[in-house]
């Protein structure tokens, strides 16, 4: 039955027969600030089964997943009318932050043909068969539950590196600034464990979301996935690259979208919206400064009298290392980085940079140390190791981004940029002592801008949407000012390096920092279809 409050205290608060206005005001303000004392009604049965149990009984499986099965969301597109109550329910029933919900909605637009075709697509974590968030996590803060297949995030294990956000093709994990960690949908596993439906399932007025059991056999990528299924948004054979819907071949999302065929012409409503991605400043600085440092250190190896370059290279490299720490929401927990070595390039990067880190220090220290046996040999070994180990470390940086499967960040496109930074700085360093190398340094700086030009050219070509075209349009659209500065400074450093490499150095580094900012901001991050005109940042 309905619960009510006790009789209103307003009744008791009878004002005196002829109250002055002020007395009445005081009385009324007093009344206003009094809430009724809540008393649970005697009739209210505390321990009863949830009121909505009857409603959702058929929307969740009767039994737990068996061998080779897991839980999955099933969304009946034909039942969803876009009320978005699922998002609100997720927020309320999970007690999330003011702007936090683990379910989101978007729209697919059917294209130009009448009759109009639009489809709201509600989406939460897909609890993928092969969760890339989990594979990318350096500290093992993700687990795929063996029994249910639910991809769980361990909030107290998370170091807040945000790499899972970059790894997820569906924009599922979200960074919680106040906590310094990531949080995500866990399919309300606490509810499911007790036979209750997840918040979104409970709340859908038209019963469009349910939990089903699906086969989960990762190895070998079974045949069923290769069969065209017109109602599955992610099916590779139906997949239209222009739709803006992520491809399923990386993570194998388990959510089934059923009930309505999606036309080939359909595309995400937010596809054409040009919103720059997060800049990730600590990462920008980390990448540029470590790469610049390695380049300068490398140059010092070839020029015996270049102690200044050694010192400067060491400083830059370590500044980059320090910057990286600022990217972590929970740096004190980062010591567990080795847990992810088997699958995570981030773990490998941390390892590679940790191994490299002593070398610059040793290089700086060696000339200051008193002689010791084999000092020269030791120095030689250290010097020789700088570039191979440095390039190896930078390679792990490249792989971190390549492993996100984002077009702009493929090895082909990021290796020239990352290695290019090292080589530009290497040549700039060398040209300090060998002026004849200066044109080569200028050439390296120029060559390095080529990959960026290629991307920008994409935006000029009329035609179909692609992730790279999106990047190009960002560079020449909302990011144009930064793009101009980036190229302006690059040109200036080319000019300066011919006269004074020392003067060119800060200009070049500034230019590279902007290049890297654009690297992050102009990337197209795959995600589920979003809403038209909602400028939610990633």
């Amino acid at each position: 039955m309905v619960t009510t409050l006790q009789p209103s205290p307003e009744k008791e608060a009878k004002s005196s027969p002829n109250p002055g206005l002020r007395t009445l005001i005081d009385d009324l303000l007093d009344e206003q600030s009094t809430l009724q004392t809540p008393v649970a009604r005697f009739a209210e049965d505390h321990d009863r089964e949830p009121d909505l149990a009857g409603h959702y009984r058929n929307l969740i499986p009767l039994t737990k997943p068996g061998e080779g099965e897991q839980y999955a969301f099933e969304v009946a597109l034909d039942r969803c009318t876009g009320c978005k109550a699922c998002v609100s329910a997720c927020h309320n029933l999970n007690g999330l932050d003011d702007d936090e919900a683990w379910r989101d909605t978007g729209t697919l637009i059917g294209g130009d043909d009448a009759p109009a075709w639009q489809q709201t697509v509600t989406t939460a974590c897909h609890h993928c068969e092969s969760p890339e968030c989990m594979h990318g996590c350096p500290v093992g803060a993700y687990e795929k539950d063996e029994e249910t297949g639910i991809v769980r995030h361990l909030d107290d294990q998370c170091i807040g590196c945000s790499y899972c956000i970059l790894k997820c093709s569906y924009d599922v994990p979200k960074f919680s600034k106040s906590r310094g960690i990531v949080r995500k949908c866990d399919m309300c596993q606490q509810r499911l464990a007790e036979g209750e439906a997840p918040a979104c399932v409970q709340a859908c007025p038209t019963e469009a979301i349910r939990i089903i059991k699906v086969p989960s056999n990762i190895p070998g990528i079974p045949e069923r996935r290769r069969k065209a299924n017109p109602t599955n948004l992610f099916q590779p054979e139906r997949h239209n690259p222009q739709s803006g819907i992520p491809h399923d071949s990386v993570t194998f999302p388990t959510t089934r979208y059923v009930g309505r065929e999606t036309p080939q012409t359909a595309f995400a409503a937010d596809r054409d919206k040009l919103i720059p991605e997060h800049a990730h400043w600590p990462l920008v600085l980390m990448l540029v400064l470590t790469q610049a440092g390695i380049g300068l250190l490398g140059s010092s190896v070839f020029a015996p009298d270049s102690f200044t370059q050694t010192i400067l290279g060491t400083l830059l490299f370590n500044a980059g290392m320090v910057a990286a720490v600022f990217h972590l929401g929970q740096p004190l927990k980062a010591w567990r980085f080795f847990l992810g070595l088997r699958t995570s390039w981030l773990s490998r990067e941390i390892l590679a940079f940790s191994l490299f880190a002593p070398i610059p220090i040793i290089l700086c220290a060696l000339p200051l140390l008193p002689d010791f046996p084999y000092k020269e040999f030791f120095t030689l070994i250290t010097r020789i190791s700088v570039l191979p180990l440095g390039f190896a470390a930078v390679f792990t940086s490249i792989m971190i981004y390549a492993d996100t499967h984002r077009s702009l960040w493929s090895v082909r496109r990021s290796a020239p940029r990352f290695f290019g930074t090292v080589i530009s700085l290497l040549l700039l360093g060398l040209s300090i002592h060998s002026p004849m190398l200066r044109p080569f340094a200028a050439l390296a700086i120029a060559a390095k801008t080529l990959p960026e030009f290629i991307v920008m050219r994409r935006s000029q070509i009329q035609g179909d949407w692609s992730a790279l075209r999106h990047s190009g349009r960002l560079l020449l659209g909302p990011l144009l000012r930064i793009t101009l500065w980036r190229f302006g400074l690059a040109a200036l450093s080319m000019l300066l390096v011919l006269f004074s490499p020392w003067l060119a150095l800060p200009v070049l580094i500034a230019s590279e920092i902007l290049e890297r900012q654009l690297f992050f901001q102009s990337v197209h991050a795959p995600k589920m279809p979003g809403n038209f005109g909602v400028s939610s940042p990633h």
Binding site: L21, S88, D98, A116, D156, E207
Partner: protein, 737 residues
């Protein structure tokens, strides 16, 4: 041990999301938000009237909410606005103290209540003394409980002695009110929501239920009779796309279409003699619609003869239950009353009224528009009475212990007439309560000019930042939904309660308490001695309804309403005790089952009129026809509340957008997301292009929630209801980047 060190599966961050049984039938809830008790309240947005279950802490303060299961309206569901109903209460721009504009600096300065009330009273008294009772007006709302509406209407007219006052329900329901009143003799929407589940044919016209009333769409989805769902709408709305048939007619082709349907039905003798016996005017009507052959209206409606003939057969199928539902697509029109009545006529002649799954059914907009219709004391005398009827005045006077001469015999100006009078300088002072006409009124640009002509503008609202509050001389901070008690009446005539579950910020007071202060300071406090609290007021108002069609004398108390799961009017005292204690599920009642209407002779009137010409059709200079309407389910009207919820903000476009047909876009070389300027004869605004074949060629659609939209709309009105014609005006597109 080592494993534990390596993997932290528990800890303070994990604990934040741990759930425990919520009790009270809730299932699991976050442990830190587990309620100490719960109570219920009707949602304060739309007229669906969903009941929400508020989760309270030890102090009775709401900490969370979920939709109430088993409530006969929403059955445990809610749309996002309902789910987030508590969010807007915490907004930083809530009014916490009265503000008075300093004439010297033009800035608003905080003042105390004593000062504010005295300023209000002395100013309005002096306006009245110098210019008479016609020189001031109030503009109120369908968003406050009926007890507050009645208090305001009575205080203004009988206590303070003014005449003019109207509500924003003029913008949403006036047409339906007038149509029902003229046809049935009383403003009586005849249906119950169960009719959605019991229809064989559901015709939705000018109604985008999937977005505007998601819970009513839920009720349609529960219909197990495999109904035909026919949507008649110029735009391919979300509802139209989900329907079994979408009849995409030309804008304002609806009246001609309905007459053509009547033409076919009468021609084919598919009328229902039993129902016709309870009507008057059928002969004239039959003669009138003779001209409206499907062929004749094909041009006007943009529909083929075949489509019209088929539709006529579908809605007159003998033995099938056909229900018609409309909202603002019909109401907000220059000929809305006649269009609504054309629908009523179709139901009357086919016998689709007074039976399960039938009815000419107007779905209301605001949470308490229906309360306003019976109790606001604006258009009709409080309690479903008539100002011009002496008996009624005497009944109200004695019922409320008000001197008979304090009840005016003449009626108030309507909203648009009040504004015109203000423009002309006849109305000197305006009191706006819980509405935002500086955003919502048609051709809103006029309001700014009008403001200059006003000597004094008072705005009483939850927020001091609404477009209207910003320009007020005196701002009174009001407590909102969730901070007050009272009753709402929903679309299906169901009366139910709301409860105070949050403390109002600062010195904000409920509108009820503000009215008490004003009554006392004005010197008419004794007239409202019995109005100590909303429930006391409710019981008096209840008594007034005796022997009216809306008789609710059988309701005992707020508690009774809560236990019964809300009660639909009528609910007279002499209702059988069985019905009185009926379980909520059985408590779904519809009107006119006996074929008796509220007209003097008991017969329903068949009313009709030749379709008029669109007031501002597209032309060479303004070649596009602009349609407006609801944008998403997470936006409400002028967004004073929905823009305060971070969750809702994620669910709708933050900037205005305009829907345009792909071929029009191609012709004008417009790309998706391109910034456009939309211009009418009255103003212009910028909007982002949303290219989709949801609108027809030559038409544009703008959601009403963005304040710029009403700079464009054309100020034309329905002759009978004075409701503004928001949905059709001529505009042009200017392309800029």
């Amino acid at each position: 041990m080592f494993n534990k060190l390596l993997k932290s599966k528990s800890g303070p961050l994990t604990a934040e999301l741990v759930q425990s049984p919520g009790m009270f039938g809730l299932g699991k809830v976050p442990t830190r938000l587990a309620p100490a008790s719960t109570t219920t309240s009707i949602c304060g947005y739309c007229a669906t009237g969903c009941q929400l279950k508020l989760h309270l802490d030890q102090n009775g303060q709401a900490i969370n909410l979920s939709p109430q299961a088993n409530y006969p309206v929403n059955l445990g569901m809610a749309c996002p606005k309902g789910w987030q109903a508590l969010d807007p209460l915490d907004a930083s721009d809530r009014g916490t103290t009265p503000l008075l504009r300093d004439p010297a600096t033009g800035q608003r300065r905080p003042i105390d209540w004593t000062n504010a009330i005295q300023t209000f009273v002395s100013t309005f008294k002096s306006v009245q003394a110098n210019h008479g009772r016609d020189s001031a007006a109030f503009l109120s709302t369908g968003q406050i409980p009926l007890e507050e509406m009645a208090f305001l209407g009575l205080l203004w007219k009988s206590g303070m002695g003014f005449l003019h006052g109207d509500a924003n329900t003029r913008q949403c329901m006036a047409t339906a009110v007038t149509a029902y009143k003229q046809s049935f003799g009383f403003d009586a929407p005849p249906y119950t929501y169960a009719d959605f589940e019991q229809s064989d044919v559901i015709v939705l016209t000018g109604a985008n239920l999937a977005i505007a009333h998601p819970i009513l769409w839920q009720r349609i989805m529960r219909n197990e009779r495999i109904p035909k769902i026919i949507v008649i709408d110029p735009r391919a709305t979300e509802t139209a796309q989900a329907a079994t048939q979408h009849i995409q007619l030309k804008p304002k082709g609806d009246l001609a279409l309905y007459y053509a349907l009547a033409h076919c039905i009468i021609r084919d003798k598919r009328t229902d003699p039993e129902s016709l016996a309870n009507t008057e005017g059928i002969e004239d009507f039959a003669e009138f619609v003779k001209d409206f052959s499907p062929q004749f209206v094909a041009g006007q409606t943009g529909l083929s003869e075949e489509t019209i003939e088929n539709l006529a057969r579908t809605v007159s199928e003998p033995g099938k239950r056909v229900s018609w539902w409309w909202t603002m697509g019909i109401n907000q029109s220059y000929e809305g009353v006649r269009t609504a009545q054309a629908i009523i006529n179709l139901c009357l002649i086919t016998g689709n009224i007074g039976k399960p799954g039938t009815g000419p059914n107007s779905v209301t907009g605001q949470c308490n528009a229906m309360g306003s219709r019976l109790f606001s004391n604006t258009t009709s005398l409080v309690g479903g009475h008539d100002f011009t009827n002496q008996e009624h005045r005497a009944k109200v006077a004695s019922g409320l212990s008000i001197p008979m001469e304090n009840i005016p015999q003449d009626s108030s100006l309507a909203f648009d007439e009040i504004l015109r009078a203000a423009e002309e300088g006849k109305i000197k002072a305006l009191w706006i309560v819980a509405t935002n006409p500086f955003h919502s009124w048609i051709n809103s640009g006029r309001l700014a000019a009008l403001r200059e002509n006003l000597d004094f503008l008072v705005v009483q609202d939850m927020y001091h930042t609404t477009e209207s509050a910003e320009v007020a001389d005196l701002y009174l901070p009001a407590a909102g939904w969730g901070e007050k008690s009272g009753c709402f009446i929903n679309s299906e005539r169901r009366i139910a309660t709301i409860k105070p579950v949050c403390k109002a910020p600062g010195q904000a007071l409920t509108d009820f308490r503000i009215f008490r202060l004003l009554a006392s300071a004005w010197g008419c406090g004794s007239m409202f001695d019995k109005w100590t609290d909303p429930e006391a007021a409710f019981l008096q108002l209840r008594n007034l309804t005796k022997n009216r069609p809306c008789d609710i004398t059988g309701i005992e108390s707020y508690d009774h309403l809560d236990h019964a799961g809300g009660i639909q009017w009528p609910f007279p005292e002499d209702i059988t005790s069985d019905e009185k204690n009926a379980i909520p599920d059985a408590a779904e009642r519809r009107l006119f089952e006996d074929g008796n209407y509220h007209t003097p002779n008991g017969k329903a009137r068949i009313l009709f009129e030749k379709p008029a010409i669109m007031p501002e059709p597209p032309c060479d200079l303004f070649p596009f026809l602009l349609l407006t309407g609801r944008g998403t389910s997470s936006q409400w009207h002028t967004q004073t509340r929905t823009a305060k919820s971070e969750i809702l903000k994620k669910l709708y476009p933050d900037q205005a957008y305009v829907e345009i047909h792909p071929r029009d876009a191609r012709n004008l070389q417009i790309e998706n997301n391109q910034k456009l300027t939309i211009r009418s004869r009255r103003g212009e605004m910028s909007a982002t292009a949303y290219i989709a074949p949801t609108v027809q060629r030559g038409q544009l659609f703008l959601p009403m929630h963005y304040p710029e939209v009403n700079r464009l709309t054309h100020p034309s009105f329905d002759t009978y209801s004075r409701q503004p014609n928001y949905k059709a005006c001529a505009v042009d597109i200017l392309i800029g980047r």
